[in-house]
């Protein structure tokens, strides 16, 4: 053990932070305290103890393992055990070392005002827009107004016009010389916003539409409480954390670094299967709406696509499918992929222009209902 075990621990915590984990100063202090209850020379015990106090997700274990290996080599140098213990005991009586967590570096990019807003920019298909019009379209999409779609939860809260008597508050009013008149206070179910789950196809055929759609998803994330966004082409990537940056340019550039399968071929069924297996149990609570953008051109297995779509439809409240091709008047869902998913979709809408996306917003606003 080195001369300063607590500094070792603090730099271990910093190493973990550098890898993207959060470790609070409280936790570092607990980690130091835990040495009083384990044998610091036993690697397994140190491993288990520090892990139980630092990570909060099984997915972080690999990172922890890598950093722990480095930490323990430095930590466990020859020295007498009693000496080490007494050093630790005296250290834990002191206040924890507050390690300054490095400030996040934010890009200061300013969004350019596009050319003067031409009304037909909103109506035109995205693929027909030139760069300056695109910038304008992006601006329009990111500033759309939303009213969130709500549903009733099982929680009750005081509400004058409610449907059920609130006994507790009624009783409070009943105490005292008020005679036989009882003012009955009411309560009603609390209203909450529906979560939104967005799945965007980013394969070759979808390119320009997907880009705009991600601007749309970014706007949604800053207006609705719970939005989860995924992209898929050859595999599924969750981009919710990347989209949380306020500035759309920064957010989208983070997305493009995070996503590795831009413009690949599409395997929609496989992507949905991945979502169902890994994410649906965690996100399908709260009766969400699923918003899927794809033209249905699929290279994967159509039976799988049908099955997985059915499963997804069962776990969410409503499925809205956005197909850029659906804007054309003569559109019929003819591709194998679209045919496979059609029975499980609640709404099929176009998504090729700013107007189309505004239509999506209106549809989302109109979806209510208990469950």
């Amino acid at each position: 053990m080195t001369a300063s075990p607590i500094r070792d621990l603090a730099s271990f915590a910093n190493a973990l932070r550098g890898r993207g984990l959060t470790v609070t100063p409280d936790q570092v202090s607990e980690m130091a305290q835990s040495f009083l209850y384990i044998d610091p020379s036993q690697r397994d015990q140190v491993y288990a103890a520090l892990r139980a106090l630092s990570i909060t997700d099984p997915g972080h274990r690999r990172i922890y393992d890598e950093e722990f290996r480095l930490f323990f080599e430095a930590f466990h140098r020859p020295g007498s055990t009693t000496e080490q213990h007494s050093r630790l005991a005296s250290v834990t009586e002191h206040k924890p070392i507050i390690e300054a967590i490095p400030e996040e570096v934010t890009d200061e990019t300013t969004t350019q005002a596009g050319a003067s807003a031409v009304e037909n920019v909103a109506a035109r298909d995205f693929t027909s827009l030139d760069d300056s019009d695109l910038a304008e379209a992006r601006r329009m999409v990111s500033t759309m107004l939303w009213q969130p779609s709500n549903f009733r939860t099982r929680r009750w809260a005081p509400n004058k016009g409610g449907r059920r008597p609130d006994l507790r508050r009624t009783l409070h009013g009943a105490i005292g010389p008020e005679g036989d008149l009882l003012a009955i206070r009411m309560k009603d179910r609390r209203i909450r916003q529906r979560p939104l789950i967005v799945l965007a196809d980013i394969s070759g055929s979808m390119e320009r539409y997907a880009e705009m759609f991600l601007v749309f998803a970014h706007a949604a994330q800053h207006r609705i409480q719970h939005v989860e966004v995924f992209t898929f082409s050859t595999h599924l990537t969750r981009i919710t954390p990347e989209l949380q940056k306020r500035d759309p340019k920064v957010a989208l550039s983070r997305v493009s670094t995070a996503v590795t399968d831009w413009s690949g071929g599409t395997k929609i069924g496989e992507a949905l299967a991945d979502w169902n297996k890994s994410w649906s149990r965690r996100m399908a609570r709260g009766r969400p709406i699923a918003l899927i953008l794809s033209d249905g051109w699929d290279c994967g297995d159509p039976d799988l696509l049908g099955d997985e779509m059915a499963r997804l439809a069962r776990s969410v409240h409503k499925v809205i499918w956005l197909n850029p091709l659906a804007a054309r008047a003569e559109y019929q869902p003819a591709t194998r992929g679209m045919k496979a998913v059609l029975p499980h979709i609640d709404h099929l809408l176009p998504a090729a222009s700013v107007h189309d996306l505004a239509g999506v917003v209106r549809l989302l606003e109109s979806i209510t209902g208990e469950r």
Partner: protein, 306 residues
């Protein structure tokens, strides 16, 4: 001296095992075989006075930990089962409105209605204590009951925020009565099936442990311990078959609870060894979704026997 320092002092004179080895022995005596890292996590939770947060797939033994800790330390187990919409009334306390109304009427009938004050109606005898308050009140004599908050992921975020506050200082302010403080913090075990992400702030307040499926060695030891009379070879082949099943892409992989059910069924059917025929007959014991049963049959039952 804050509440956690008091509890550590108290610990030295209670029945909580003082070393990891003692804890492992104690758990084993209660027929709970824990992996080593789980034992260390439990040990730290007990000695640092932090709640223990257990996450993992269904059926790996999360709830069991609380039950075993209670019986091992000879303390009461107080269980709060979470569900969506769980609120303070159901988790902490509620007033006995019916009795209170009756009391008001009685006072009026006796002619004391004019002088009735809140103190007559809002006293402890009209309060129904629910699990969280029960746990706090049970510490009044210095004992540390085990508080199990089960399936926290089924409750909503408001409840989590409330629980976070409660777990920091174990005191409750009841507006009409006053503050109720715990003498010593109860042993708290929180479990989650991870159907939703619990807020980091709450997890960081606890000793966090993800319980993996056990290794075949550990699982066969568990079967041998909990299903008396079973042959060691059969226990081993069950554990190995389970491991193969979990490696398949099933919608709901079977947990240790299912392994034990399976072992007991085989004992009941007096089957001494695992074969495709036996598996075929008992597949419904371990798999609960038709899709999974179909996939396993398609993959071939002989593959499971190994």
């Amino acid at each position: 001296m804050n509440i956690r320092q008091r509890s550590v002092r108290h610990m030295l004179s209670s029945v909580i095992p003082s070393s990891i080895q003692e804890l492992a022995t104690g758990l084993s005596k209660e027929s709970y075989l824990a992996a080593d890292d789980l034992t260390v996590a439990i040990h730290l939770a007990l000695h640092l006075g932090r709640p223990l947060f257990l996450e993992g797939e269904a059926g790996v033994g999360k709830t069991e930990v609380a039950k075993v800790l209670a019986s091992m330390t000879g303390q009461e187990l107080i269980r709060l089962q979470c569900y969506e919409g769980l609120d303070v009334g159901q988790a902490l306390y509620e007033w006995d409105y019916a009795r209170q109304m009756m009391e008001i009427r009685l006072l009026e009938a006796r002619g004391e209605g004019q002088d009735a004050t809140a103190r007559d109606i809002m006293s402890r005898e009209f309060l129904i204590a629910r699990p969280l308050l029960q746990a706090i009140e049970a510490t009044a004599d210095g004992s540390r009951p085990v508080l199990l908050v089960d399936e926290l992921d089924r409750a909503d975020e408001e409840f989590e925020a409330f629980l976070l506050e409660l777990l920091s200082d174990f005191q409750v302010s009841i507006p009409e009565i006053g503050t109720v403080k715990a003498e010593v913090p109860p042993v708290v075990v929180l479990t989650s099936n991870r159907t939703r992400e619990i807020h980091d702030a709450l997890k960081r307040r606890c000793i966090y442990h993800w319980i993996d499926y056990p290794s075949p060695d550990l699982e066969s030891s568990i079967v041998l311990k909990k299903v008396p009379g079973i042959e060691a070879d059969l226990a081993r082949s069950l554990a190995e078959a389970m491991q193969r099943l979990r490696a398949m892409d099933l919608f709901k992989p079977p947990g240790v609870a299912e392994t034990l059910d399976w072992a007991e069924s085989l004992e009941l059917l007096q089957e001494g060894a695992l074969s495709p025929r036996v598996i075929d007959r008992t597949l419904g014991v371990i798999l609960k979704y038709k899709d999974d049963i179909d996939s396993v049959r398609e993959a071939g039952l002989d593959a499971l026997v190994g």
